[in-house]
Amino acid sequence: MKIAVASGKGGTGKTTVAASLIHVWPDPVAAMDLDVEAPNLHLFLHPEEIGRCRAFMEIPEPDESRCTFCRKCSDICQFAAVKVLGEVLMVFPEMCHGCGGCLAVCPEGALRPGKRELGEIIWGTAGAAPFIMGRSRIGEAMSPPLMRQVKAHLSRIAPPQIDLIIDAPPGVSCPAVNAVMDADVIVLVTEPTPFGAFDLGLAFKAFAPLGKPMGVVVNRAGIGEDAVYRLCERQKIAVLAEIPYDRAIAEAYAEGRVVADAVPAVRGIVEALARQLQAMDRPAPKEVLHG
């Protein structure tokens, strides 16, 4: 099964939960950090690196000498990434989504395939778990193209039958949806504060159309109020686990340790969470009537 650990906003302890789940997972599991703008799962899992490669996207490269300024390219581009400006054919590489439309329609061969670096893909092993992450090039504005390549690369380093835990980007925008859309279950990590409840509400709304089972983990439970719980009740989404606020957790985090490893009480909580998640994927067997 595939589990995406997401959160409506950053700083809720999403990576703490993802790292802990990977640490206690009872079956063979792979770890994938798709928070490519600010990957940090590796800071807790301390994987051994096996390899890395740079990832690129195909974008048009202009050859003005062939251009007749017919504008077929700019008419098809939804992203203002290729334009005829007076007598100048201009490509804005960072705006391009790599759809290839302009290359296909240009009748003059005035656009050739070039490339833009998206970032890098790094893989290795964290204990027994295959580990993979992406890291966007600084200044790269789009995450999903790199995320797709990280996902595709996973099949080369992990057997398809093992489970997968995904550290998704925070928020509810395109990259977050892209990270959770292949999961069987979405775990939303939140805090019992008004901000936590607000962002959790946004996450429910953004991910509900995907039609996947969702569950909530309340981190730093006990510090705030009950708006998060009321929201979950209203939306009929289960609170799967509560991780209390504890100094030992903050210390383990600061030292780059897996919290479920460093703090025994958390280990028990995360193990119970893992069992619940596995049950969400495998619906209870139907009763068989003998007779």
Binding site: K9, G10, H42, A80, G86, M90, M95, R135, I138
Partner: protein
């Protein structure tokens, strides 16, 4: 003199200059010699999540403007306007279109050499830095 584009939200010389370039409601395309004008809507650019400035630049270049008078121009729009040979006058505010054109004609303005507004790409990271620890700045290279 060639035509000038001024960002504003209604087809009148007495309209206020709209400080936004890419997200302006539209542009008055003025012939400074005769003060006759046409109005060019900017709805296509306004509808875009990103690239509004580039789209607006294309719009006014196609309308034949060789100069633009506005408030804030971002880096990509600046690049597009410069490529199209359009002079850029920015930082205008609290002026009517007529006043801006008169100042341009009198040479009482500075042509911009660089954009005065930063790109506002695909939206920032939600809640980044709120106790996240180790976030941002591409921090924490893997060994």
């Amino acid at each position: 003199m060639s035509k000038i584009a001024i960002s504003c939200d209604e087809p009148s010389l007495d309209a206020q200059v709209d400080p936004r370039f890419g997200r302006a409601a539209g542009f008055l395309i003025v012939d400074p010699d005769t003060m006759t004008f046409t109005y060019q809507e900017n709805g296509q650019a306004q509808a875009m999540a990103r690239g509004a400035g580039i789209q607006a630049a294309e719009t006014i270049i196609r309308a034949g403007a060789r100069a633009v008078l506005t408030g804030y121009v971002g880096p990509k729009a600046f690049q597009a306007l410069s490529a199209g040979g359009v002079q850029i006058v920015q930082d205008l505010a609290n002026l009517t279109v007529r006043q801006a054109v008169e100042r341009y004609k009198a040479g009482d303005i500075a042509l911009a050499q660089e954009p005065n507004s930063q790109a506002h790409g695909g939206g920032g990271r939600p809640g980044a830095g709120m106790g996240g620890g180790g976030r941002g700045g591409g921090g924490g290279r893997w060994r």
